[in-house]
Amino acid sequence: MPITYVFKISIAIDQIPQFRETLEKRIQALKPRQLNQFQVQAVVFQATNQTAIHQYLHSDYSSTCFSLIEPSTPQQEIKVLTGDIGLASLQRRILDGEKKALQLDLIGSAFKLGDFQIKIGTITQNSSNRGLLVEISYCASNNNDAYGVIIEFVESHLGLSNSYEMLSNYVKRKAPTANYTPEDTIIQYYDHFNSLRSQTSQLRSQIN
């Protein structure tokens, strides 16, 4: 199972399309193999008694649905339930009476360069840009093996210098020899989406 790192590129919202284009140009210059468009959909069900459920659909795992419970305190472990696509329709039954709060979409292009898979996508909410994410997968399996290789790839081919800060806290905390699973990819998305939401809420509060 390949290891996947998701990098969040912190950049002003109005510069997102431009910067994404430059990143794609840098990758295109290496003559990669173009893959199909990729898509990640996150739906947040906000419960009344403070437990929110995040439902993730990823185009790489097209027949799988990930359901993630937001921990009440940050120290708690994040619980991810992986099920087949029927879980998406069953989610309504589980959360009878709880309303859909928010939907985030990530659409972007994917490339394959040697053993690396690079995905560059923009997060949109109600068709307005929110942020820019870069996902890189490699055939190694744990932090201990892949960290140096992936960081070197990002720095040399994408030209991003402060790559360590762009990783989510979850990756930094994870044990170096623990193997990566698709659930870990989803948790990284959750971390980044959550930070974006908190940013926007901060912005809103600042405007207000």
């Binding site: 009344t48 008694n49 437990t51 459920i53 649905c65 359901s67 419970i69 619980k79 991810v80 339930l81 992986t82 099920g83 087949d84 696509i85 029927g86 879980l87 329709s89 069953l90 039954r93 589980i94 009878d96 009476g97």
Partner: protein, 193 residues
């Protein structure tokens, strides 16, 4: 999705003969029926607005065994309007083994725990299950609930399909001399009188 189904029961003493008849009636009579041993957990939760939800989680084997996946099922109330077969809404999916923790974290309570041991047959899209239900006890040996086996014929499909209900009814009629497949409400009525 809706489930069209009928239930009946057969005594333990005549179970073996009934299984032979089912082998003849269903697909692949040359093969032995599929045996299974599963543990079913029934979870329920009362929502803030007053309605209650119950979910059924199943895993292969009896409790101490480790499994690779679980089965999560939602069944609604029985629709009383139809006369031939019972109809209820039905949703299910396969999940990772941490299903119980997930449901507990969402505020569900574990109501009952049952061990189901039985045989599975299929005829086209029809599913026939002959199973015996046990109740796990602290002593170790699970206790049987009754001295008979539960027989269930079911088929899932989109709602409002009368032909599906008829196919279930027709197949159930083949069991007539041995097992009476009826709607649960009728059985309850007869028991009362």
């Amino acid at each position: 999705m809706n489930e069209y189904f009928l239930v009946g029961s057969v005594l333990d003493t005549v179970k073996d003969g009934f299984l032979e008849i089912l082998r003849g009636l269903c697909d692949n009579p040359e093969n032995k029926p599929i045996e299974f041993l599963e543990t079913e957990y029934i979870f329920s939760k009362i929502n803030p607005n007053g309605s209650s939800v119950s979910l059924r989680a199943r895993r292969v084997g009896s409790p101490p065994d480790q499994t690779q996946h679980c089965h999560l099922k939602y069944v609604g109330g029985i629709d009383q309007k139809t006369d031939k077969v019972m109809v209820r809404t039905y949703n299910d999916c396969l999940t990772s083994p941490n299903l119980n923790e997930y449901l507990m974290a969402l505020g569900f309570n574990l109501e009952t725990e049952l061990i189901v041991k039985g045989y599975l047959f299929h005829k086209g899209h029809l599913k026939v299950v002959v199973s015996k239900i046990f109740q796990p006890s602290s002593a170790g040996e699970p206790q049987p609930v009754s001295n008979s086996h539960l027989v269930e014929i079911s088929r899932t499909g989109p709602p409002g399909q009368t032909t599906m209900g008829e196919s279930v009814k027709q197949f159930a009629d083949l069991f007539k001399p041995f097992v009476r497949m009826e709607r649960v409400s009728q059985v309850v009525e007869e028991l009362n009188f």
